[in-house]
């Protein structure tokens, strides 16, 4: 009975959404988008691209045009990591018992792989303004590397305090760079370094700097979440 009721409500909602969205001005048919009527036309303007200096327009929007949004967004991630740490909180903590015992080869091999994954993540973060990628996926790859060490070694615990310090320092430098924009230019988070040539590694002013900080912050936050999920209280 409950399933039928839920099914009917879901079908009605789906029909309502599709009818409401069909070919209105806000949601044109798939593929028939006219960008000249949208705000993105200004982002795609070649003069604005040269002024910002970032070849990847998504990065230009995330860190450049909407940098203040991104500051709030990493704050939301920080608060959710704080909530996870609060719920799992406890004084005496130990590693969750996994059923397998990793052997010597697995441990050494995963230590070598850890370095390779870390180098890949820094490549992705540093080239965020040139190629697809950037701070958010790069930070998640850092957290994946830490997760690999947790899975390959049943006694491993990452240095949680070090991650917390790294996260706090990265977030603080982000805000300080924003305030420097207020000093050297006119607005918070304004780009006060020269934009350079589009396509060079050292270009786009403060965008790569901020993306590196975002990468470190996201990586340490998600690594902290992973650590919280793999520990439990001693008495339980």
């Amino acid at each position: 009975m409950k399933n039928v009721f839920g099914f009917l409500i879901s079908v009605a909602l789906g029909i309502f959404i599709i009818l409401a969205l069909a070919n209105t001005d806000a949601f044109p048919a798939f593929g028939d988008v006219d960008l000249t009527e949208r705000i993105s036309n200004a982002y795609l303007d070649i003069n604005n691209v040269e002024q910002v200096g970032s070849a990847n327009l998504v990065t230009a929007i995330v860190v450049g045009y909407r940098g203040f949004d991104t500051l709030g967004e990493v704050t939301v991630l920080f608060i959710s990591a704080l909530g996870v740490a609060f719920i799992f909180g406890g004084v005496k903590q130990k590693r969750l018992d996994l059923d397998f015992k990793p052997n010597f080869m697995l441990r050494v091999g995963s230590n070598i792989l850890f370095g390779i994954i870390l180098v890949t993540s820094f490549y992705i973060i540093l080239h965020g303004h040139l190629t697809p990628g950037g701070g958010f996926p790069g930070g998640a790859i850092i957290a994946s590397a830490v997760l690999l060490l947790y899975l390959a070694d049943d006694r491993f615990r990452s240095n949680v305090k070090g991650f917390k310090v790294l996260e706090g320092v990265a977030g603080s430098i982000f805000v300080v760079i924003g305030l420097l924009g207020l000093v050297f230019a006119t607005a918070f988070l304004e780009n006060f370094l020269p934009a350079g040539t589009v396509g060079n590694l050292i270009s786009a002013g403060i965008i790569p700097v901020i993306y590196v900080l975002i990468g470190l912050k996201v990586g340490s936050e998600i690594a902290g979440i992973v650590d919280n999920f793999l520990t439990e209280e001693e008495s339980a």
């Binding site: 409950k2 399933n3 009721f5 839920g6 099914f7 409500i9 879901s10 079908v11 909602l13 789906g14 959404i17 599709i18 969205l21 949601f27 044109p28 798939f30 593929g31 028939d32 988008v33 960008l35 949208r38 705000i39 993105s40 982002y43 795609l44 070649i46 040269e50 070849a55 990847n56 327009l57 998504v58 230009a60 929007i61 995330v62 909407r66 949004d69 991104t70 967004e73 939301v76 991630l77 959710s80 990591a81 909530g83 996870v84 719920i87 799992f88 040139l130 190629t131 697809p132 958010f136 998640a140 589009v198 396509g199 996201v218 936050e221 998600i222 979440i225 919280n228 999920f229 339980a236």
Partner: protein, 112 residues
């Protein structure tokens, strides 16, 4: 075509929230809703006809068509928020389990 699949995916998520009485399954349903919504937001920025990803390859005007970068920037941050909210939901689910020793909402009401 993917646009309609995304809307139906969102509706599937709502159906899962209605019918499942298991905490983990409800979080899975929320994740399915999130994926559908992300695909839909990306799809309203898609420009047909040989368009390119929004990465500038040349500063000369070659008549290249790029897709809308703004929805992609919004979804990029939404995905990272999604892992935070999912982790928080799973933490709450684990602490529910530690109290009631079950994930099923019906059994919780019986034992309470």
């Amino acid at each position: 075509m993917i646009q309609y699949a995304a809307i139906i995916l969102f509706v599937f998520g709502i159906y899962g929230l209605f019918t499942n009485r298991n905490v983990i399954k409800m979080i899975v349903s929320l994740n399915i809703m999130e994926i559908g919504l992300n695909i839909f937001i990306i799809s309203i920025g898609y420009v047909g006809g040989g368009s390119l990803a929004p990465i500038i390859s040349s500063t000369q005007d070659l008549g290249l068509i790029y897709v809308d970068p703004l929805p992609q920037a919004l979804v990029l941050t939404a995905i990272v928020i999604g892992v935070g909210t999912t982790a928080l939901g799973l933490a709450i689910a684990k602490s529910i389990f530690n109290t009631y020793h079950t994930f099923e909402l019906d059994e919780m009401e019986e034992s309470a």
